[in-house]
Structure formats: structure tokens, C-alpha cells
Amino acid sequence: MKSPRAITIGVTFIAGLYFILDFIVPPTLPGASIRGVVASTVPASFTAKSGDFPAIPYQLSDQGNMRPQILVAQRDVLGKPKLASTPLRQVGPGSTATIRLGPFEVQRVVGGPTDSVVGADGIWHSLKPGQTWVDSATTFPVTNAKPGMTLYIEQPNAKIDQVDPGSAVLLIGGKRINHRLGAHTVAIKLSRYTAGSEVQLDELKAGDTVQFGPATTFADNRDTAAQFNLVITTMAFGIGILSLGMVHSRQLIKRPKGWYTSIFFFAAIVLGIAAGLGKYEDPGTSSRAFSDFMVMRVIAAVSSAVFSLLAFYMAAAAYRAFRIRNGEAALMMGSALIVMLGQTPFGSYLTSWMGERFSAFWLPNIAAWILRVPNTAMFRGLIFGIMLGAFATALRYWLSMERTTSGE
């Protein structure tokens, strides 16, 4: 019993710490960062080798729309494989990536069908061994380039060989310093008000203020952290189904009054699953039509009807409960009636006879004033309390000071 509790405290602390650090740790390591005004830069470069062909050098700079993109295999939201662009510092030497240049429009084809091409910008493009033409719309290899096509040059599944992160000349305190970047250095371009954003060396111009420093893992892994949080919280979803299912199966076994509703519950789950599966079919199929029908005609109708039942409940309960029993209730009711009337067109009818001079006393204006001044201030008083309460609760949970169940 002792060790699971220690583990729980430990993981709770670490999980909380990660997300606190995620927000307060700056994007570059504080001690090892340098800041200055850019005088000039040498962009990063690398070579990529595919198979037995000689390694091809690339320079990460914008030359005639041909800035190389480094693409690594990933999954998209729907689970389909895709290539995602990655910064150079995240792919070290030895890793595999697809290098893509372009796109450009073909103006003229020179030589063989796939040999050399003149772009619309008048620049010659030719393939080196290991590279292929790729259609920019479909990203499929093209064997026969024609004028008018929009193409990429791609080196698929190449091994990244030598990496040079580049360098920059910075003006710091009146001195010019040549700063060579490390493999994991990020460049943050600073501006007057914004927090600064990561840039590549070739995007920097003379006069920009920049901060160089080793990347902290937090910024790079933000998306993974979000994904982890999402996956973990979603996994708890099944608990609700299971516990409701247990309640209903118990009803089916014990058969108390009204047990037959549980049969409908299980039947409805099957219908719901069918509707859920149909959601992912193509439009026009019958299962998709079934799914749409269930969602728009059944779920939507019932859930909005259930919510609207509350209006009836509330009308009756408000009538019966809302008797002035003390000064507090009277004050509350006064403010409630003004806000209710002020929000309807009747409010202006009732009081607009007072004329423009007394427009401050029109019901809608009083209602607006109540909401904007006393309500705002009162809510603010509450918010400050709630904020501190949330801090205290978060702290207690984070440091596992709270007893979470009565079992302990």
C-alpha cells in the first residue's frame, strides 16, 4: 500500500511540474544564450545521401523559391501517413528524411523528358542522381515534365550526412562577434512587444535583434505534450460507459420496477455505435445517411427537448420558490426583474416615455448598468477569491496534500 502511494505522489508532481515548466521556461536556455543585433549571416547547410549516389549538398536559404524543406514521415489527424516539414536542428546526422525543393512552374524542358527544366523565373533546374521530379498537387513522381506543370525536386528517403548549422555576425555592446551555431541552437527573432518567434538564419536581415541559444525541450515537444494529455484524458472515457453498463446490467438481473428501460439502453448503445461508424463513411452511402439521421433527427431533437424542459420546470419553480422572505431575496428579485425586463423589448416600451433626458433611467440602460458596473465588480471580487482558491487547490493536488477519497 505504501509504494503505490509514493508512486502516485511522484507522478502527480512530475506531470504538474512539466506543464508548469512548459510555460515558464524560455525557448532558449537562459545561461547559454546570447543576444545581439545581426550584421550578417551564413545560412545553415547539410548534405544528404541516397543509396550509392554521391551526397548532394543543400543550403538552407531562399534562392529562387528553392529553399529545401526537410520532411519526415508522420501520421496526420486521420491516421494517414504524411510528410511533415521539420527544422534542421531536429534531424541529426544519420537520420532519414525526404528533401524537397520548389515548387516552380515549368517553362521549357531541355534535353530528355526528365533531364533539365527551365522554370518560369528563368532559372535552370536539373536533377542530380538520387533526385526525382514530383508533381506539386499530388506529390507523385513525374516521369514526363511538360511546360505549364508545377513541380518539386525531391530526394526521397535520403540519409542526412553532414550538418553545418551556420553562423552569424552579431553586434553586441559595440563589438562584432562571429557566432557559430551549435547543432541544437535556435534563433529567436525579438521584437518590441511580441514574445519573439523562431526563425531560420536566412530569414534574418541586418539590423534584426536575435537571441541564439540551445533549445529547451519544452517548446519542441509542446505538441507531443498536448497529444499525451489528450490521449490520457480520452482513455478515461470508457469508465462512464462501463459504470452505466454495470448499473443497467444489475437492473436486468435484479429486475426492480422499470427494469425494462435497461433493455432499451443496451439496444440504443448498439444503434449509437452503428451511427458512429456511419459517420466515417462517404457521403451518399446508406450508413452515412443513417448516421446523419440519427444525429440530426434523434440525438439533436431529444437533447434540445430535454434542455427546453427546464424552461417549464423553471417557470413553475420560480413562481413557487420566489417569495420575498427577507431583504436579501427582495434585493435579488429587484435586480433580477430589471435585468429580465431590460433584456426584452418591453423594457424600452415601459420606460421610454421618460424621454432622452432621463435615458439613464430607461430599463434597458439600468439593466446594462447593473450588468456592467455592480455585477462586473461583484464578479471580480468573486473571481479573485476563486483564483486564489484554484491556486490553493492546484497546489494541494499537485503536492498530493489532499485526501482524494474518504478511503484514506
Binding site: 510555460f23 515558464i24 459504470s243 452505466l244 448499473v247 427546464l310 420546470y313 423553471m314 413553475a316 419553480a317 420560480a318 413557487r320 420558490a321 420566489f322 417569495r323 422572505r325 436579501e328 431575496a329 435579488m332 428579485m333 433580477a336 468573486l382 479573485f384 477569491g385 476563486i386 486564489l388 482558491g389 491556486f391 490553493a392 487547490t393 497546489l395 494541494r396 496534500m401 489532499e402 485526501r403 482524494t404 477519497t405 474518504s406
Partner: protein, 249 residues
């Protein structure tokens, strides 16, 4: 952030070392609780307690359980039983546990068997209506509605009002408070609920954090005072607004 967290942690540490030293003022709602229990004793009817619509993962429910323990202790003195209704099956053993230990501590274990912890339905509105019906059927004299509430708050409290109960409600869900104000005799609002619970349970962690929050509020209040003064002198573009950068991450 560090300042506020530090204040809270410091107070918790103080409270852990010496819980007696931490002062929490007696909240008016507590007197009302004792009065309501006394009223039920006079009329000789049971008390109804509803711990809200959430389960034990909510701190409001935990605070409500603290109040339940207190109500059980008071009612043990007068020898009256308690009906608890809930919409979470998982709350049933927990409430039973609280009742049993409270009655045993007061030396009246037989009262536990006279009490009744009822799970009515997983749907909070059906539970609310069931609770309201129960109050009329059993002629409950006093009802306590503590914990997290959703839109069903008025359904429960209206039933209690029909039954002529003395009702005390406590919740931190501020959107439901107006309905309780309309229909209940006394309301323990927002943070009062937690303060109330920590006053009753004297748990050092809770006590400390309530005290720490108070110091935090004092700091905020001081800040607002300085800010109002400066902005009255300098107009809206006052130098304090430069603090924004200090505060935000």
C-alpha cells in the same frame, strides 16, 4: 505566482505544525445548521442531506462530506436520523462510511441503521425530483443541500419549500446560488463552503490553505489600493500597468 503559492504553502505548514493557532471565523451558516438540526429534533422528523450532483473527485463534494459529518454529529446528540440522497452510485458507500463513523464517535451506532443513504437515479434531474418527493413524503423538517449543483438546484429546493422544510444550501457553483437564495433559508456561498468545511473538520491542510488564501486576498487588496491611488493621480495610463509584464509568464 511564487508569492501566492508561497503564502498558501507557508500557512499550510503553520497549520500542520499547530492547527489550533489558525483562526477561522465562525460562519453564520453554521449557526443556521445547528438551528435546523434543533428544529428537526423538536418536530421529531428526519433530516435530509443531499451532497450535490458530483462525485468525490470534486472538492465541493469533499467539503459537503465534512458538513455531513458535522450534521450527523449534531443529530446524534438529539437522536434523529438522516436521509441522504445522491445521483452517483459511487457516493453511497462513502456517505455510509461518513455517517457510521460520525454516529459511532457520538456513541449512537443504532442511529446509523435508522438512517438511509439512497441512490435514486444516475440522472441528476430525476434524482432532484425524487428527493423533492421524498421530502414531502417523509415530512422532513430540515434539509441540507451542500456540494456541487447543476441546473437541478431549483428542483430540489422548491420541493423542500413545498414540504415546509428549513433549508440550508451551500455551493460554490455561483450560477445556482440565486435559486437557492430564492428558496432556502440560509445560503453558504462560494468560498464559505470550503471555509465552513475546514472550520468543522479542523484539517490542517484545509485550514492552512484557507488562511493562506486570505493573506493572498489581503495582498491583492493592497495592490488594488495602490493601483487605485496611482491611477487617480496619473489617470488611466498609470505606471502600475507596467506590472502586466511582471505578472504574466
Amino acid at each position: 505566482m511564487i508569492l501566492f503559492s508561497g503564502l498558501i504553502l507557508w500557512k499550510i505548514a503553520v497549520a500542520k505544525r499547530n492547527p489550533e493557532k489558525v483562526f477561522i471565523r465562525r460562519i453564520a451558516g453554521l449557526n443556521a445548521i445547528d438551528e435546523a438540526v434543533g428544529r428537526a429534533a423538536e418536530l421529531g422528523t428526519p433530516i435530509l442531506f443531499n451532497p450535490g450532483t458530483d462525485d468525490f473527485t470534486s472538492i465541493q463534494t469533499l467539503a459537503a462530506l465534512g458538513v455531513l459529518a458535522h450534521v450527523a454529529k449534531r443529530s446524534a446528540v438529539y437522536g434523529i436520523s438522516i436521509i441522504v440522497t445522491t445521483c452517483k452510485p459511487i457516493m453511497v458507500p462513502i456517505c455510509e462510511d461518513v455517517l457510521r463513523s460520525a454516529y459511532e464517535a457520538a456513541g449512537r451506532p443504532e442511529l446509523f441503521h435508522a438512517s438511509d443513504v439512497r441512490f435514486i437515479s444516475t440522472q441528476s434531474d430525476l434524482t432532484a425530483l425524487g428527493t423533492a418527493a421524498l421530502m414531502v413524503d417523509r415530512r422532513v423538517a430540515s434539509s441540507f443541500l451542500f456540494g456541487a449543483y447543476d441546473y437541478t438546484s431549483l428542483l430540489v429546493s422548491e420541493g423542500g419549500q413545498l414540504a415546509g422544510c428549513m433549508q440550508i444550501a451551500g455551493t460554490a457553483d455561483y450560477y445556482q446560488i440565486p435559486f437557492f437564495i430564492a428558496s432556502c433559508d440560509y445560503i453558504v456561498m462560494v468560498e464559505e463552503l470550503f471555509a465552513c468545511s475546514s472550520y468543522l473538520s479542523r484539517q490542517p491542510v484545509m485550514l492552512g490553505s484557507v488562511a493562506g488564501q486570505d493573506f493572498g486576498k489581503l495582498v491583492l487588496l493592497g495592490l488594488i489600493g495602490v493601483g487605485v491611488l496611482l491611477s487617480t493621480i496619473y489617470g488611466l495610463g498609470n505606471p502600475v500597468n507596467g506590472f502586466e509584464r511582471v505578472f504574466t509568464f
